[in-house]
Subunit: 221 residues, 2 copies
Amino acid sequence: MEAPQNTKRTKASEPTLKRLPRYLHYLQKAQDKGILTISAPVIGKELQCDPTQVVKDLATTGVKGRPRIGYNIHELIQTIESFLGYNRANEAFLVGAGNLGMAMMSYPDFQRFGLKIVAAFDTNRDKIGRSRSGINILHMNKFQDLARRLQVRIAVLTVPHTVAQEVTDLLVASGIEAIWNLTPSQLQVPEHVIVQNTSMYANVTLLLKKLQEKDESESVQ
Amino acid sequence: MEAPQNTKRTKASEPTLKRLPRYLHYLQKAQDKGILTISAPVIGKELQCDPTQVVKDLATTGVKGRPRIGYNIHELIQTIESFLGYNRANEAFLVGAGNLGMAMMSYPDFQRFGLKIVAAFDTNRDKIGRSRSGINILHMNKFQDLARRLQVRIAVLTVPHTVAQEVTDLLVASGIEAIWNLTPSQLQVPEHVIVQNTSMYANVTLLLKKLQEKDESESVQ
DNA sequence: ATCTAATAAAGAAAAAAATCTTTATATATT
DNA sequence: AATATATAAAGATTTTTTTCTTTATTAGAT
Ligand SMILES: NC(=O)c1ccc[n+]([C@@H]2O[C@H](COP(=O)([O-])OP(=O)(O)OC[C@H]3O[C@@H](n4cnc5c(N)ncnc54)[C@H](O)[C@@H]3O)[C@@H](O)[C@H]2O)c1
Ligand SMILES: NC(=O)c1ccc[n+]([C@@H]2O[C@H](COP(=O)([O-])OP(=O)(O)OC[C@H]3O[C@@H](n4cnc5c(N)ncnc54)[C@H](O)[C@@H]3O)[C@@H](O)[C@H]2O)c1
């Protein structure tokens, strides 16, 4: 692959990338209601965020809007989905079919966002051989062989944090290039491997801290 | 803002607040190994982040370190925990005892981070009356009364996104002040209610996009 | 005791992101 | 057709966050 028709390697910022799925979710609901065009100010008002921010975010996807009209909602959704790669169905292996892992296997919507969990792996004999939502749970010792043969590049990590690093080492050795890390561990990986941390703790912390700050500011007044 | 008297309202930034739990997790592991003092450069190297950033983050909690020595690890952990309010055991209700909700109920570690789920609520008859990890699942129609009587201020929201807003309205009407929103919906709430969104989608998106960008940059060379 | 090296702490600079401002354009209204 | 207006788009400004520098302090070495 070469020569992108539009060498505009937009390189969207992280904050923008995080906001786009939210817009998309809202836009899909709006489209279901039969809306054909939508403007940035409307999106901003509905999602309680700055309208110029919305314009800027949408602009990074390359979509064009028309003054006084807004954006064609169908075109907008298509453009965002394509920009984010949601139409690619990236295949992933889930590792650690425990409480959280099983919940994620049961969740059909990830596929709509471009992630398809095609198999799960565990070391617990009780889990192996079972399946959930059509996804089979296999023994961990099959991981390396299957990852290579099926050329799976993405792993979803939901093992106990105590084994997170050793499992990660195996994933990397198996050619995994991107890890979605749901454990609280800070994984050590080679340069070329991408890690996306989803820290529940960070979110709990932020919530509790905001509440605490609210209390303090009220008690001061 | 005005008059910053001795009010040490440090007002830590969001990025700082998100990094602190990670430091804490690492520090606890280090303490378990018998380490007594630790320096910012060591933490930074281990967690692959900038050492001066670590110093700045730790400084916001008010802890003091000593040149050439570093921080007393016990004091450091205590200070961070107290700063983040982890020793408060904030009580919360979980709403929507489905796949994700059940997983969260089974997860004992939240309590270590200051969040204690004391009851769960659902509308599904099959769920009601059951319990998980000692947390009872009650009917949603008991929510309002219990929230008021027990003075629970925090709700964890894990219902289907289709009902997220209507459930939220009930939570707010019941006096809930902070909502940890695990659904993809953008909740509409009054000014005084705090919402913390944990969007799995945003994280998937970021991961897939990074992988995509890596592919593109490689194909360009 | 004195010197050296490591490191916390404070401050400055740079980078990134969000917000605000201006401009241009297309549509609806008159 | 002319005008007013909403809004996308581009640019400027401000704010926030990160990174870089400098300074001061302290343990350990000489
Ligand atoms: N449950 C939650 O709500 C929640 C929330 C936030 C974070 N997490 C994190 O997610 C991870 C999983 O949590 P959980 O509650 O699902 O735990 P869990 O114990 O229910 O599940 C872990 C699974 O991993 C499997 N496993 C253990 N060692 C393995 C190995 N070497 N290789 C492959 N599989 C292995 C276990 O058999 C088990 O099925 C933990 O790191 C936890 O910190 C969970
Ligand atoms: N499962 C996952 O891994 C995952 C990942 C990301 C986001 N989410 C989000 O989390 C939410 C829950 O997902 P899930 O997979 O657990 O779904 P689920 O269907 O398994 O669970 C939803 C639960 O909410 C209950 N419920 C429905 N209406 C209710 C009401 N009005 N009041 C109280 N309870 C009600 C249902 O009975 C059910 O038990 C969804 O919004 C989903 O988008 C889930």
